[in-house]
Subunit: 177 residues, 2 copies
């Protein structure tokens, strides 16, 4: 049982978008460059986040991705479910109802005790993931690695300025910085 | 993210072994027959349970598998880890330390906030799985599906008697029922 690496990348993308200067949109290319990721791989996961409303795709020369709602309204559970799906972690296949000792379905009205116990653990996991937001993660990162977060902020600022300059050069109508 | 079906089968095997009449050993064949499972598939998972000390392999004409310790000392977490491994569900690959804005490792002394938050959810899951034992599951099954559990007990009793008869017939030295 593993959470895929897509979840880790998706959470780091949300983290970066939450820190984007002035809530500016970031392109897949910028998000990939920030942490030396693969743009095509990130694009796939950003599309999943977009389908879940966690990020918004913005068109135009200053386009890219923005968070779809304030970071304190994006729970880690939302991101995990957007990438991994909402299905149960443990799927009960009713093993107890198979074989020569099995009775009619009426004898199994209550859920299987095994499914109930493993399901309770899954609920504890979901509750915990639902109790933390992207805003919490950003605040905690600032506490844990303040220099690194400051360096990321500087890089994002510089990257947005470079993009603005390119955008102004190529399109006189765009509002450069 | 899914718990494999091997965990479901392993838990049902532990459940059956906990109900084996007089703690008699059950063969892979009996365990497979009880719930119409695949013997080779179950054998693989019983070997994993055996390596973890959750079941004991007993040799001889009355051999098979027994629980390796009392059912109230076998936690669901033990069974899940025996089948799925003990590694973390979420593996942090230190994405934050990659790319043009990354600093020297000294700036990342504390674990990543994302890994810490997702890890806290994993700990909640483990705590819950560690709080329930095979004995709890059996007691809860008796409460939830008493007729089905009684039918299983009768089948196990009959299966043990049949095996004893075959064993006595084929080997005069074996103690039949």
């Amino acid at each position: 049982m593993r959470i895929t690496q897509g979840v880790e990348w998706a959470l780091h993308c949300c983290h970066a978008l939450a820190e984007a200067p002035g809530g500016v949109a970031l392109t897949v290319q910028q998000l990939a460059e920030l942490h030396a990721g693969n743009p095509a791989y990130l694009a796939k996961h950003l599309q999943a986040l977009s389908r879940a409303g966690i990020v918004l795709s913005v068109l135009g020369p200053r386009g890219g991705y923005r968070l779809g709602r304030p970071p304190d309204q994006i729970r880690l559970l939302d991101v995990v479910e957007a990438i991994e799906g909402q299905g149960p972690v443990f799927l009960c296949t009713e093993i107890r109802q198979r074989g020569p000792a099995a009775l009619a379905p009426a004898s199994y009205r209550m859920p299987c005790a095994i499914a109930a116990a493993v399901g309770a653990a899954e609920q504890a996991w979901r509750r915990e993931l639902a109790s933390t937001t992207v805003a919490d993660i950003v605040a905690e990162s600032r506490r844990r690695a303040p220099e690194a977060i400051a360096a990321t902020a500087r890089w994002l600022e510089q990257s947005a300025q470079n993009r603005g300059r390119r955008s102004s050069g190529g399109d006189a109508g765009a509002t450069g910085p």
